[in-house]
C-alpha cells in the first residue's frame, strides 16, 4: 500500500467522522483501530482528526491544498472498502498547485 505514505503529500488534513456507538459507524471504528497506527507512523505530520459525535453519518473528509475539501460517506461500507475510498481520495487529489487568488 504505497499510497499510504503519499498521504501527507497529497492531503493537508484527513478527518474521519463517526458515531461512538452506532452500527453504521462500526466498520469505520474498526478501520480506525486497525489503521490509525500505520497511517500515523507513515505520515507523522498529517493531522488525522478522528471526530466522534453521537448519531452522525460516518464520513471521510480530505482537505487538499488551498482549502479544497472532499468527503465520502462511509455507511454501509466494509473496512477494506473504506481503505479503498481513502486511496481514492489520495489518488484523485486535485492537482491545482496555483494559489486560488493568483
Amino acid at each position: 500500500m504505497a499510497w499510504r505514505s503519499k498521504l501527507s503529500q497529497s492531503l493537508r488534513e484527513l478527518r474521519i467522522h463517526m458515531c461512538q456507538t452506532s452500527v453504521a459507524s462500526k466498520a469505520t471504528r474498526e478501520f480506525v483501530v486497525k489503521n490509525y497506527k500505520d497511517l500515523k507512523t507513515l505520515n507523522p505530520r498529517l493531522p488525522i482528526l478522528i471526530r466522534e459525535c453521537s448519531g452522525i453519518q460516518p464520513r471521510l473528509w480530505a482537505r487538499y491544498d488551498y482549502g479544497v475539501e472532499r468527503s465520502i460517506p462511509l455507511d454501509g461500507l466494509s473496512e477494506p472498502e473504506i481503505n479503498a475510498k481513502l486511496e481514492e481520495l489520495v489518488e484523485t487529489a486535485p492537482q491545482s498547485k496555483t494559489p486560488m487568488h493568483a
Binding site: K40, P47, L49, R63, M100
Partner: protein, 780 residues
C-alpha cells in the same frame, strides 16, 4: 436543644482536624464500629459540630445498614443527602430513579404523603413535597449547622418545634409546616434575629435579594419591642473582593463552613459567644482562595457583598443574561447582569455537571476589564509608526493586500485564549484557502497532535473526577489552572479519602496531597512501577491521572505523554466503565481549537519563527515582540489593546465574550454558547464576520455569510461543536493502535503554567480588580 455549631479558629490536634467534619468520618469498612465512633464523637468534642452531632444520629439510625451508604453520611458532608434529594425530586418527573424501595420511607407533610429516600432530613422531605421552608444556615452543599432555627416545623408527637434542617426524617413522621405553633415559633426567631440586625436595607447591596428581608416580610413583626442599643461589630478586611459589614451578620456560619469545606482554607471562624459572637479571621489575615467570591452568594444577608460592585446597582435594575465564562477552560455557567451597555456583575448559574453553583474569582470579578483598554475602531500603522484610525474597508483592504504579497509558507495565524469556535473556524478556512497551514491556538503549543479527542480532554468528566480514589497530577497546579476541577478532586479526597500524588511544581492544593518530585525521573519510575505511588494507583478502584497542558510547552512532551500513557495502562486507568485519563486545558479556546484542527497541516513549517512574513493574531498575546520578526506584517484582531496590539500593523476591533454569541468547548469536551449581554463598543464587529469580509477582499471568499452558515461548516469539521450543551464522549484507542513514541524524557523540571491566577488573558489583564487581587493575594 441540639448543640449549636461553633467552629473555633483555635487549632485542634492535627490528627483530628483538617476540617470540622472529617474528624468524624467513619471507615467505610465496618458500619457498626463507625456508628459507635459517630456516637462517641457526638458525646465528646463533637458537640461543637452540628454535623458530627447529626452524623451521630445517623450512625444510630443506620446501624447494620450497608456500609457504602453509611459512608456518605459518615464522611460528614451533607452532599450524600443532597444527592438523595435530587434523586427523589427527579423521580417526580420520571427521570432516572435509582433508590430501591427498601431505601425509601414514607412521611407526611401537611397531610400529603411523600416517599423519600432514607437519610433525608425533614427539610428535604418538605422540599420533595413542594413546601418551601425558610432557612438561613442550611445550605445543601455545606454541612448542617442547625443554628439559625428559622426552619422550625412541627412534628406530631414532638412537644417542641424541631429544626427541620438538622432532623432526619423518620418513617411515618407527620410533619406540619403551617400550624400557628410553627408560625409563632418562626416569628420568635425572626424577632431575635432582627434585634441586632441594622435597619439599613435602603443602603445595603443585598437589598432586593436578601433572604432576611424576604423572610421578614412573612414572619417579621410590624413593630419592635427592643429598645436597647443595637450591637455593632467591627468590619473585617477580607481583601479587595469581598466587602464586609459585619453588623449585618446573623451568625449563620455558612461562610465559615464554605471556607473550610469547599474552599479548603481554615481562616474564617466564629469568635466569641452569645451577644459577642463574631465571624472573623482571628488574626488580621486575608482569606486566600480562588473561590472566595462565592461567600458573597451564600451569605443570606448583606454581611458579605461584592466590593468591586458596591453601591453601583440595585438588583431589580439589572438585566440578566445566561452565558458562559471564558476565563478558564472549565466553562462555568454564569449570569451576566447588565444595566444599559455596562456589565454590572457576574454571578454563577447552576450546572451540576460543570460548576455546581460556584465560580472562580477571576470569572466573577474580571468584568471591569471589559470596560478598559478596548479597541473600538480599525487602526493602521502609518509611515511614521503611529496607529491611525481608518475605515473598515481600508483596514481590510490593507490586510488583504499584505496577505496576497506573501508566500503562503511564510504566513502564520495564532488564535488567542478567548477565541470562539466560529472565529477559529473562519480563520482556519481563510488561512487554508490562502495556502497557509501554520496555525495554532495559544496554550496548545505550536505542533500539537489533535488527532484523538480522548488525548486532550478531561475524560472522567469534571463531575466524574469526584469518584476517583487515587489521582496522579502531572505538571499541573490544578488549584490555579482550574479551581473548579481542583474543588472536585478535593471532594474526592474528603469523601473517598482519595490519595493524590503530585509530579510537578510544588503547590498548595488546599487538600492533602503527596509531592512526589518535580522531574521526569519520578514520572519514569512510576511508569516502570518502581515508585510506591504506582502501587497506590494500581490498587485504586477508580484511578485517575490529571495532566496539565503546561506539559505541551516542553520539548519532550511526547515522551512525557508516553510515560503517562504507560502509567495509565499499568494502573488500568482506562477501562470500559471508567476513563480516568484527564488532560486539563488552560484556556477557553483550546478544546474547540483542537477539535477544529486549528493545528499545523501536513508540510507546514514549525518552530522557526524568523521566516514569518505575515502573522494573523486573533486576540493572541503570548508572543513577545522579540519572537515576531521585524519585517513581518502583523494583523491583530481582538477586543483589547493588549501586549501584541502594540506590535500590530493593522488592528481590527473584535468583540468580547459578553457581547457575542460564540461557541466554546470546555476541557471535558462540552459544547456551550455565550450570549450577548451588552452591546459592543464603537465600531467593533463579530470576529467571524471580520474574517469573512476579509476573505472576500483577498479573493478567497468563504462559503458562508450567516452565523448558522459558520456553524454548519463546523458540523463538517467537528460535528460535536454543533451539539450545544452536550458532552460528546471521546473513545480512547487501544494501545496497539497508537504509534510508537521514540522521544526521550528530559530531566528539566515541570514549569508553572500560570504565574498569576488573577491575570491570564486580555480581559483580566485590563481589570483593575484583578490588579488589586494580584497585589493582595499574590504568591508569597
Amino acid at each position: 436543644m441540639a448543640p449549636r455549631c461553633r467552629r473555633y479558629p483555635l487549632p485542634l490536634p492535627r490528627s483530628s482536624t483538617g476540617s470540622g467534619s472529617r474528624r468524624f468520618s467513619f471507615s467505610p469498612v465496618d458500619s457498626s464500629s463507625a456508628a459507635e465512633s459517630g456516637v462517641a464523637g457526638s458525646t465528646s468534642r463533637a458537640l461543637h459540630s452540628g454535623v458530627a452531632w447529626y452524623a451521630g444520629i445517623r450512625g444510630k439510625f443506620y446501624e447494620g445498614k450497608q456500609s457504602s451508604d453509611f459512608y456518605k453520611w459518615g464522611s460528614g458532608l451533607s452532599l450524600g443527602g443532597v444527592r438523595h434529594a435530587r434523586v427523589a425530586s427527579m423521580a417526580a418527573v420520571g427521570a432516572k430513579f435509582e433508590a430501591k424501595p427498601e431505601d425509601c420511607i414514607e412521611v407526611s407533610v401537611d397531610g400529603k404523603d411523600v416517599t423519600i429516600a432514607k437519610g433525608m432530613t425533614v427539610l428535604q422531605a418538605c422540599e420533595v413535597a413542594g413546601v418551601d421552608i425558610p432557612r438561613f444556615c442550611y445550605h445543601p452543599r455545606l454541612s448542617i449547622a442547625g443554628n439559625c432555627r428559622m426552619c422550625l416545623v412541627e412534628v406530631e408527637k414532638t412537644p417542641k418545634p424541631v429544626a427541620s434542617c438538622a432532623m432526619p426524617a423518620l418513617p411515618g413522621m407527620k410533619i406540619k409546616t403551617t400550624t400557628p405553633l410553627v408560625k409563632k415559633a418562626r416569628e420568635g426567631v425572626m424577632e431575635f434575629l432582627l434585634i441586632n440586625h441594622p435597619l439599613d436595607c435602603p443602603i445595603c447591596d443585598q437589598g432586593g435579594e436578601c433572604d432576611l428581608q424576604d423572610q421578614s416580610m412573612v414572619y417579621g413583626s410590624d413593630r419592635g419591642r427592643f429598645i436597647e442599643a443595637k450591637r455593632s461589630v467591627v468590619d473585617k478586611n477580607l481583601g479587595p473582593l469581598v466587602k464586609t459589614v459585619m453588623t449585618r451578620c446573623i451568625q449563620c456560619t455558612r461562610c465559615v463552613r464554605f471556607a473550610s469545606e469547599i474552599a479548603g482554607v481554615q481562616d474564617l471562624g466564629v469568635l466569641g459567644r452569645g451577644g459577642a459572637e463574631e465571624i472573623g479571621t482571628y488574626v488580621e489575615r486575608l482569606m486566600v482562595s480562588e473561590l472566595s467570591g462565592n461567600v458573597i452568594d451564600i451569605c443570606p444577608v448583606g454581611a458579605l457583598t461584592a466590593k468591586p460592585s458596591a453601591f453601583t446597582a440595585r438588583s431589580w435594575e439589572l438585566k440578566s443574561t445566561e452565558s458562559i465564562d471564558v476565563s478558564d477552560a472549565i466553562g462555568a455557567n454564569i449570569r451576566i447582569d447588565s444595566r444599559g451597555p455596562e456589565v454590572m456583575r457576574i454571578l454563577p448559574r447552576l450546572n451540576e455537571e460543570v460548576n455546581e453553583e460556584w465560580i472562580s474569582d477571576k470569572a466573577r470579578f474580571a468584568y471591569d476589564g471589559l470596560k478598559r483598554q478596548r479597541l473600538n475602531e480599525p487602526l493602521i500603522r502609518s509611515a511614521d509608526g503611529q496607529l491611525e484610525p481608518v475605515s473598515w474597508a481600508r483596514a481590510l483592504k490593507t490586510v488583504a493586500e499584505a496577505a496576497l504579497k506573501v508566500n503562503p509558507d511564510q504566513m502564520a495565524a495564532i488564535a488567542g485564549k478567548l477565541s470562539d469556535a466560529e472565529a477559529m473556524m473562519a480563520l482556519k478556512d481563510l488561512m487554508n484557502r490562502l495556502g497557509c497551514e501554520r496555525l495554532w491556538v495559544e496554550g496548545n503549543g505550536e505542533d500539537t497532535v489533535a488527532d484523538l479527542r480522548s488525548n486532550y480532554l478531561v475524560n472522567s468528566t469534571i463531575a466524574g473526577l469526584e469518584n476517583t480514589d487515587a489521582c496522579l497530577l502531572v505538571g499541573t497546579e490544578l488549584r490555579i489552572e482550574a479551581p473548579l476541577l481542583n474543588h472536585r478532586l478535593r471532594k474526592a479526597v474528603r469523601n473517598l479519602r482519595a490519595k493524590v500524588g503530585v509530579v510537578g511544581p510544588e503547590t498548595e492544593l488546599h487538600f492533602k496531597a503527596e509531592h512526589l518530585g518535580n522531574n521526569a525521573e519520578v514520572l519514569a519510575s512510576i511508569a516502570e512501577g518502581k515508585h510506591p505511588f504506582a502501587q497506590t494507583l494500581s490498587k485504586a478502584k477508580f484511578p485517575s491521572i490529571v495532566v496539565g497542558s503546561g506539559v505541551l510547552q516542553r520539548s519532550d512532551k511526547e515522551a512525557v505523554l508516553a510515560a503517562v500513557q504507560t502509567i495509565s495502562q499499568n494502573a488500568n486507568v482506562i477501562r470500559d466503565d471508567w476513563n480516568g485519563y484527564n488532560f486539563v486545558l488552560l484556556n477557553a479556546a483550546q478544546a474547540a481549537g483542537l477539535d477544529l484542527g486549528f493545528v499545523p497541516g501536513s508540510r507546514a513549517t514549525v518552530g522557526d519563527k524568523s521566516s514569518i512574513k505575515f502573522l494573523y493574531l486573533l486576540g493572541a498575546d503570548d508572543l513577545t515582540p522579540e519572537d515576531i520578526p521585524v519585517d513581518a506584517f502583523v494583523v491583530y484582531q481582538g477586543h483589547h489593546g493588549d501586549r501584541s496590539a502594540y506590535r500590530a500593523d493593522v488592528i481590527l476591533p473584535g468583540v468580547a465574550y459578553s457581547e457575542k454569541e460564540g461557541t466554546f468547548e470546555n476541557t471535558e469536551g462540552r459544547t456551550q454558547q455565550t450570549s450577548p449581554a451588552v452591546p459592543t463598543v464603537g465600531d467593533a464587529r463579530d470576529d467571524w464576520k471580520i474574517i469573512r469580509a476579509l476573505s472576500e477582499l483577498a479573493g478567497v471568499k468563504l462559503p458562508y455569510d450567516t452565523l448558522n452558515g459558520v456553524r454548519a461548516r463546523m458540523l463538517a469539521v467537528a460535528p460535536n461543536l454543533f451539539r450545544v450543551d452536550e458532552l460528546e464522549p471521546a473513545t480512547p484507542l487501544p494501545k496497539e493502535s497508537l504509534p510508537e513514541v521514540k522521544a526521550k524524557l528530559e530531566s528539566s523540571p515541570f514549569k508553572r503554567a500560570i504565574e498569576n491566577f488573577y491575570m491570564t488573558d486580555p480581559i483580566s489583564r485590563a481589570s483593575k480588580t484583578m490588579a488589586q487581587s494580584t497585589a493582595a493575594f499574590s504568591r508569597s
